[in-house]
Amino acid sequence: MSELPEIFRVLAFVGGIMALVGLNAAFSVWLERKVAGHIQRRIGPKEVGPFGIFQSLADGIKLMSKQLVVPAKADPVLYRLAPALTMITAVMVFVVIPFGPALVARDINIGLLLIFAIASVNVLALLMGGWGSNNKYAVISATRAVSQNVAYEVPMLITVVTMVMIAGSMNLNTIVGQQQNLLQWYIFPWNGSLLLPVSFLIFFVCAMAETNRAPFDLGEAESELVAGFHTEYGGMGFGLFFLGEYGHVFVGCALASILFLGGWQCPFGWLPGIHWLLLKTYLLVFVVMWVRWTYPRTTLYGLLNLSWKVLVPFSLAILVLTAAMLKVF
């Protein structure tokens, strides 16, 4: 792809990433409903297209054809900006995700850092949406989402620092390149630090909490806060929050598979490429859904206690131990 003029390359990637975010949301919604259906002993959507695969399309058309109602006394700017911002952050993090050896929009040295820098902005979108819609439930939800995201970013970043020390790079493609087959995956304890499986677990839990997924979906706890920060959103305003959420879930799982499970590399060395990344990512997405449809929701304090009293000390200990191990061996 490097022979193409830069402008075509950019356009191709912009189109590709937008399509991926859209298709991912459509596919994830369908998958979520199918997974939920089968977990709950029913079949899920089946009428629209084969296996109900076009159900999300029908839902999307319905959402887009609805009028965007701005509630009275809502902050008109913040209210309209919030869904767009959550969508923008979801799309932007895709820029540095390596889908294949050369299939990455911007192969930059600080890719990992960039992802976290941009993904953190998502909290702002939730806060803006909750505050801007002039609804008490939305405000409570927004404050919850902020404290939750701040709490979980800390152990997540500490874990990422551990990974960066082991891999010696913040370039995601380099990290993937180091994990050429199953035995070299960073989830296994013989690749740098004995505590890598624990790191993976911490990272995965944090990714779930960071993306507001059950059992950490306190931001949109429907039985307490009606619908949380998007209570007042209808039509595509709600749709964008949804697209953004599934985009963030995808990014979280993609990042977990890139850091720990070898990204686009094949476990056995055959045909590396985008299909392996998608396969691993959607397996993790499936696990996220499985957890969501099995567990009840935690409370905010249980959640914060888990982060500050368990995950942060553990991830710090892992960081120190890993540093020591790297120094000694």
Binding site: A36, I39, Q40, R41, R42, K136, Y137, I140, R144, A214, P215, D217, L218, A221, E222, S223, E224, L225, V226, W293, T294, Y295, P296, R297, T298, T299, L300, Y301, G302
Partner: protein, 372 residues
């Protein structure tokens, strides 16, 4: 709290939970005065679906009022109609054949199991777990199918008549009920594995929303709420009615008074109800299901009558004041949910919003039973 309240910058806000809110499961409004996520005051505001059932009782003849009680607590409608017919039978002195009494007990207990199963699903839904709702609904569906075969309706039964039952059960009922008892008994370990042993659920319920025995007595709370607070009161044991004295069953009582205790009481009650159904099926006598001489127009002698039954949510009683005519002078309905919701304000004080939702779910409120 009082230290904070003296502070001039201390600010609270009012949050209306309901009348349209997913956690209230009906048109109930709870006015919450909040300090952040903590509840300072909680006040249930009633009356959104008041339907004048008591006044209807005064204007209708006894037979015309038959369908009304099942519209109160529609989830344990069988027990409500049982309370009504039992009161009128006591007032008018109508004897009920034994087979009818046994079938009443069996259907009431099946109805109690279905009510508790729905509560289980809705309660875990309040806590954010969606899947158990559908499992519980699946089992409940079997009970409703069976009761539909017998009574003709799935929810608001009008099966009991003064002096007996509307009709006898068909040949498949006994086998169907036995299969049902086995099915639900086999499912209970699954529910315990999925829900009771879940660490998140335990954290959310244990020690949360304590209700003392004192508070239960103060507000007149009965049923699983009282039994979860260590009061071993069950109308079936303490003021026996129908043929309950002939059954061998336990009354589960837990001392802790927290949401977990109320949860466990109901889970145990499902098993006890299954025991009662099983014994009832074993002992089911032959004979008529309707008394022979029931007057067409019932005119109970002048007097004041009361009869209570143990509905799924507590003691459901009817006070009937008769002036000797064909309509009651006064028909007072004592519904368990009204008493149980009254203590919510005191019990929810100082709780987090999320814990208040758990407390609310553990009270198992049916809104039409509160408003009547």
């Amino acid at each position: 709290m009082s230290v904070l309240a003296a502070d001039p910058t201390y600010e609270t806000f009012v949050l209306n939970m309901g009348p349209q809110h997913p956690a209230t499961h009906g048109a109930l409004r709870v006015k919450l005065v909040m300090d952040g996520e903590y509840i300072v005051e909680a006040e249930p505001v009633l009356g959104y679906i008041h339907r004048m059932h008591e006044k209807m009782g005064e204007n209708r003849t006894y037979h015309q009022y038959l369908p009304n009680p099942s519209r109160l607590d529609y989830l344990s409608a069988m027990a409500c109609t049982h309370g009504h017919v039992a009161t009128v039978e006591r007032a008018a002195g109508i004897a009920v054949p034994e087979r009818a009494e046994y079938l009443r007990v069996i259907t009431v207990e099946l109805n109690r199991v279905s009510s508790h199963l729905l509560w289980l699903g809705a309660f875990v839904l309040d806590l954010g777990g969606f899947t158990p709702l559908l499992y519980a609904m699946d089992d409940r569906e079997q009970i409703l199918d069976l009761l539909e075969r017998v009574t003709g309706s799935r929810l608001t039964y009008c099966y009991f008549r003064f002096g007996g039952l509307y009709n006898d059960v068909d040949d498949d009922f006994v086998d169907g009920a036995r299969a049902l008892v086995k099915r639900i008994r086999d499912k209970m370990p699954m529910y315990h594995n999925l829900i009771t042993k879940n660490v998140i659920l335990r954290q959310r319920l244990e020690g949360i929303g304590p209700i003392s025995a004192e508070m239960c007595r103060k507000y007149g709370a009965t049923g699983p709420v009282a039994r979860g607070s260590g009061i071993p009161y069950d109308v079936r044991k303490h003021e026996p009615y129908s043929v309950y004295p002939e059954f061998d069953f336990d009354v589960p009582v837990y001392e802790q008074g927290d949401s977990m205790a109320r949860y466990l009481v109901r889970m145990d009650e499902i098993e006890q109800s299954l025991r009662i159904v099983e014994q009832g099926l074993d002992k089911l006598p032959e004979g008529p299901v309707m008394a022979e001489k029931v007057p067409k127009i019932i005119k109970p002698p002048k007097g004041d009558y009361y009869c209570a039954v143990e509905a799924a949510r507590g003691s459901f009683g009817i006070r009937l004041v008769s002036d000797g005519t064909n309509t009651p002078y006064r028909l007072k309905l004592r519904s368990p949910c009204f008493s149980n919701v009254s203590l919510f304000g005191e019990a929810a004080r100082g709780l987090l919003l999320a814990d208040a939702v758990a407390l609310f779910g553990s009270l198992d409120l049916v809104i039409p039973d509160i408003d009547r």
